[in-house]
Symmetry: C2
Subunit: 272 residues, 2 copies
């Protein structure tokens, strides 16, 4: 398996947070987005806005792609054939987020293959209204994720992952196993500490509600980082529903009055 | 750019719906899922259940992966560090669907690199309760998508995509352009017809409400297919909310009573 250039690219990729200033050529940019397009889809629901205004980008990356769930475009295509969308917003978002994500991941891998680095910025959905305004997005277009990209000015190692046995199960989801949990946490914590990841990043998630810091960069690692993020942040679904709503997506409303059994019909596999 | 083995793999991939009966080795399966794990993540929120019971799989594929948004595992990890999840279900699903999708797409590309083919099956979320039962999924685990895989017994061409200019925009989302729309529809319709895609698949989406068929395989193509899917199916959000709820996800409820400004806090970029 070693020496397979595609597997090598998948295995060596890591997020890049320092970039050289040189701007990738149009040819390179186009090859990357074309590779993105070729990902599997349910409805070609992903599109992309590119910014080359690096002064405004995270990490000063030369390129910033905003990856969109683009239902507006689909609606235009089917309207030109006399169809109106009936699939509800929640269902089409479940497909559209995947279409956009598969495209984005292909772009990440294509960039890696061409010597570029990238880093996903996951907060786009939580400031969707602002991004919508910035890029002039029409109704029914939702910014899923942003992707900073350029030639890397750092070469960190690939980051640790859970043991395979803590991710791949056969036949049935296994009962909770304390030994496997501890081992997975050990691999993640020792792995990130061995790479001095958080010290080099100069970043710890702050404890809220005035709680006193209990860690230093000698002990702060991945599991604690996860606890502080998911244990403190984004508790209010209303805030996200409002961002979605600002983009024209209303999760709870059918687009048409649902008829008997209309919710039971099934699209087939991805048509690609 | 041609001759880059990674770009080539991304560009030549297409969904495979006929499989040879031989079962890929454990070594191959493990390499594919390991490559999946190495995708970027917000919280390592993706996990996978594998079935090798090919008699029960679509297309008789030797392997069927069910790709999961696994919040249960994350909760166990942070609980072991004294944290309880506060991030609401809707927010963690937005991150978790991406984590699982990036992983799944890496698996698709790794499979391609090793001579295997695959096909996504997008209906898992709409029969989540059934899948949950089949694989014994705990609460807070949601089946996002299934991935059929094996050695291909067909070699179709890569499928058409929109022109790049209908997907990649610079600086601003463009105003609607009827010429660009027509050209994109032409590329898709003529491309699928030239490959005789729907005739070979033997499949047209049926017109509902007793409407009479207006197409044959000489004229039925991608845009009409999209119109019939998204113009007829999955209109009822309640059906999906119930599947999510059966898996322990309640999109509208905060996990804790949201405090002042608690919805405003932001996780940083993906930590990988």
């Amino acid at each position: 398996m070693e020496g397979n250039p595609v597997l090598d690219a998948l295995m060596r990729r890591k997020s890049i947070r320092r970039y050289r200033p040189d701007v990738p050529s149009d040819e390179v940019i186009e090859a990357i987005v074309r590779a993105g397009q070729q990902a599997p889809f349910a409805g070609q629901l992903g599109s992309v806005v590119l910014s080359r205004d690096r002064k405004r980008h995270p990490f000063g990356a030369p390129l910033l792609f905003t990856v969109l769930v683009d239902v507006h475009r689909l609606e235009r295509v089917i309207a030109a054939r006399g169809w109106e969308r009936k699939t509800c917003d929640l269902a089409i978002l479940i497909f559209g987020i995947q279409d956009a994500a598969y495209m984005a991941e292909n772009m990440v891998i294509a960039a890696e293959a061409l010597g570029l680095g990238s880093c996903f910025l996951g907060m786009a959905p939580f400031r969707a209204a602002e991004i919508r305004k910035e890029y002039g997005l029409p109704e029914k277009v939702f910014p899923l994720v942003q992707l900073a990209m350029g030639y890397p000015a750092e070469d960190p190692p690939p980051r640790p992952r859970y043991p395979l046995s803590f991710t791949l199960y056969e036949g049935r989801y296994p009962p909770d196993d304390e030994g496997a949990l501890k081992e997975a946490m050990r691999v993640m914590d020792e792995g990130y500490l061995a790479q001095d990841y958080y010290r080099k990043a100069g970043y710890m998630v702050k404890l809220e509600d005035g709680r006193e810091e209990t860690h230093t960069f000698d002990t702060y690692s991945w599991c604690e980082h996860m606890g502080r993020k998911w244990g403190q942040w984004l508790s209010d679904p209303q805030a996200i529903l409002e961002e979605l709503s600002a983009c024209g997506f209303h999760l709870l409303e059918p687009l048409r009055r649902p008829e008997d059994g209309a919710g039971e019909r099934k699209p087939s596999g991805r048509g690609s």
